[in-house]
Amino acid sequence: MSHAAADAHLLEPGAGVYHKKLGMWVFLASEVMFFTALIGSYIILRFGAAESWPVPSTVLNIPVTALNTFILICSSVSMVKAYAAAVEGDQKRLRLWLLVTVIGGATFVGVQVFEYTHLIHEHFLPSSGLFGSTFYTMTGFHGFHVSMGVICMTWVTIQAFRGRYTRENYHGVEVIGLYWHFVDLVWIILFTIVYLI
């Protein structure tokens, strides 16, 4: 492009991290506010409610969801191992751990869908009172974010199989990793607040 791009290393010190990483962290800050609106509304509606809400464990399947939580955490581990492999330029391990992450993420979504169909069959719907409204909205948007993550992760995996990421250029892996861990982090909060409390 223009000569200006070549002088990149002379720029004023910024955040101290490369653009894509800074951009992803900034984007994640906005996602925190998004989930704050949804989860915050749940907290406000439930803990401010005049009448008591159904006890979550009587409606939701805690054991299955606890297992699903574990699966998602494992996929975070496989993601970070993929990142470590990318930094070292280890193509084989990178591809393996990325695949594991995709499978883990897809499994999580699959189990969520299974949970939803079961709940709908039991006539627990978004229109089933405020608990239904908040439950489906929060977990639905989280699931949507995981699904977007799985799609992007699949693309990154394909790129990895094409040898796109090296010791010098692993940024794509790191950045999708940040998004993935964030989605896991939100679930950790969600699972506790919605299923356990």
Binding site: S2, A4, H19, G23, A37, S41, Y136
Partner: protein, 576 residues
């Protein structure tokens, strides 16, 4: 867009190989994207203005057929007479288009995009393709928003603030599809804004040229940067609220449904938690731009640069804890009424600091009354009026009488039109030569300014008095109320003022389009300004700078003793 195209660009070493579509339609160049936002937003500014004209017709001449109103469908205007339901849509969509599709994109989408890379010495934004996506997503949101006018049951009619339960219950309002489209349109726009703000923040943090330290940034950039942080953190809360309301309308959820334990008041809290930072989003970039123009027009450094930066930060910071002042009459916890009153009064302080600093800048300056300067000066004085009316309503007991009256409407329009829009006009006149390589007519610019200033005040100042009589907002026919009938003359005066205000925009529209072709060729630096954008051709080439500039001093070195000229561009070294 595709990897193939990117490689081609890199190999060619330039962008002269690009097709018309890649260069002007699906462009990743921040300057083109800024101009795209400009055309789109000016269009919506006109739409918002026309909607207001219809409102003013009904208020000035209740029950009379609008001239040419026969073209409107019977669902909107029966025999040319605006129906009450359509009036509510007019009120709603005027606010919606003006706030979200005119003012916000004009300040943030246009000048954020155009100025940030140029004024910090960068070749483009950090993420040019995401920038392109930002524009086209906003464009799509605009289409969705316009589509609502064609929905059965009419467009959204619950106010731009869309309070539940009216906005949640189609059975109460008679509006379903229109409200749904309104919600979807804003959710889509939110995505555009969030992506844009992420881009702006990353760019300002990481792409500043050597020597462009934080405290050498022009105030327009500081303001746009801090505004981007507000957008980043506030818009997602609105998105969440919009989604909940959308689900109430479409999925049978009960977030705001009292019968199921839902909380309409929660809508107001969520909306205004976003809504108050939003109004600072609408004013801070204007303040930043005005600072740049006033320093230029006074040939003096900005008075108190550091305190200006601090004030922007303070306004942004405090703006998060004042939202309840929009809800004094909502029935919320009275204890909150007190705390929000105090925080709202405190936030007047940094705004006052900025006002005194602008005056300090003007004091003993060598003032050039060019068109941008006239508009910037109008900003300062009109914003002060708007801010002063704000002090009244900040006081909870006073707001008991003022809430939902025309006093509030006066306040809104003094800060948004008297403030933001004059700043936008100033910005358009100021950066037009750089954007389009042509000069606008100074004479037409001054005509436009004088006419706009006079008729704007004629339209909005009387609203203060109307409000003090108790004239309510959003009503269809003031003559229905015995106590308002004596003031119908004022309503007609305002209506006439509004029509003349619209007509006053004709010189601007003519000037804008005529100058594109026939304006004098713009020199490098027609305003003798210090910004980095004036060191590159008008318009700048793709990539902006042939070599990365090095910055040697702050942005407001006007009339500096270090040089014979009365200005000193930021990248110019001073020979000892």
């Amino acid at each position: 867009m595709t990897t193939a195209a990117v490689h081609h660009e890199a190999a060619a070493g330039g962008h002269h190989e690009l097709s018309f579509v890649r260069k002007y339609i699906f462009s990743t160049d921040h300057k083109i994207i800024g101009i795209q936002f400009l055309f789109m937003s000016l269009f919506f500014l006109l739409v918002g203005g026309l909607l207001a004209m219809m409102m003013r017709w009904q208020l000035g001449y209740p029950g009379k057929a609008v001239p040419g109103g026969g073209v409107l469908p019977e669902t909107m205007a029966s025999g040319g007479v605006i129906l009450p339901e359509f009036y509510n849509s007019l009120v709603t969509m005027h606010g919606t288009f003006m706030v979200f599709f005119a003012i916000m994109p004009l300040l943030v989408g246009v000048y954020g995009n155009y100025l940030i890379p140029l004024k910090i010495g960068a070749p483009d934004m950090a993420f040019p393709r995401i920038n392109m996506a930002s524009f086209w997503i906003a464009f799509g949101a605009g289409i969705i928003m316009l589509a609502g006018f064609f929905a059965t049951g009419g467009h959204a009619a619950a106010g731009w603030t869309s309070y539940a339960p009216l906005s949640a219950r189609s059975d109460l309002s008679g509006v379903h599809m229109g409200q749904v489209l309104w919600l979807v349109g804003l959710i889509v726009l939110g995505l555009s804004s969030i992506l844009g703000s992420m881009n702006y923040i990353t760019t300002v943090v990481n792409l500043r040229a050597p020597g462009m330290t934080w405290f050498r940034l022009p105030l327009s950039i500081w303001a746009l940067f801090i505004t981007a942080i507000l957008v980043l953190l506030a818009m997602p809360v609105l998105s969440g609220a919009l989604i909940m309301l959308l689900f109430d309308q479409t999925l049978g959820t009960h977030f705001f449904d009292v019968s199921a334990g839902g909380q309409p008041l929660m809508w107001q809290h969520l909306f205004w938690f976003f809504g108050h930072p939003e109004v600072y989003i609408l004013i801070l970039p204007a303040m930043g731009i005005v600072s740049d123009i006033i320093a230029n027009g006074s040939r003096k450094p900005i008075f108190g640069y550091h305190s200006m930066v601090f004030a922007i930060g303070a306004i942004a910071f405090l703006g998060w804890i004042v939202w309840g002042h929009h809800m004094f009459q909502s029935g919320m916890n009275p204890m909150l009424g007190t705390s929000f009153m105090i925080s709202t009064m405190v936030i007047a302080v940094p705004s006052a600091i900025k006002t005194f600093n602008w005056m300090g800048t003007l004091w003993r300056g060598n003032i050039h009354f060019h068109t941008p300067m006239l508009n910037a000066l109008a900003f300062v004085s009109m914003f002060v009026i708007g801010g002063l009316s704000g002090i009244f309503m900040a006081s909870t007991p006073v707001d008991i009488f003022q809430h939902d009256t025309y006093f509030i409407v006066a306040h809104i329009h003094y800060v948004l039109f008297g403030g933001s829009l004059f700043a936008i006009f100033g910005a358009i006149y100021f950066w037009y030569p750089k954007m389009f390589g042509r000069m606008m007519s100074e004479r037409l610019g001054k005509v436009h300014f004088v006419l706009t200033f006079v008729f704007y005040n004629l339209t909005f100042f009387p609203m203060h008095f109307l409000g003090m009589t108790g004239h309510m907002r959003r009503i269809y026919d003031p003559t229905q109320y015995e106590f308002l009938r004596p003031y119908q003359g004022t309503n007609r005066l305002i209506t006439v003022g509004a029509f003349l205000l619209l007509a006053s925009q004709l010189p601007f529209i003519w000037n804008f389009f005529w100058s594109l072709r026939k304006g004098a060729k713009a020199p490098l630096n027609p305003w003798r300004d210090n910004g980095l954008e004036w060191t590159v051709p008008s318009p700048p080439p793709h990539g902006n700078f042939a070599t990365t500039p090095t910055v040697h001093h702050g942005p407001y070195e006007y009339s500096s003793p270090l040089t014979t000229d009365d200005y000193l561009p930021q990248n110019q070294e001073v020979r000892p």
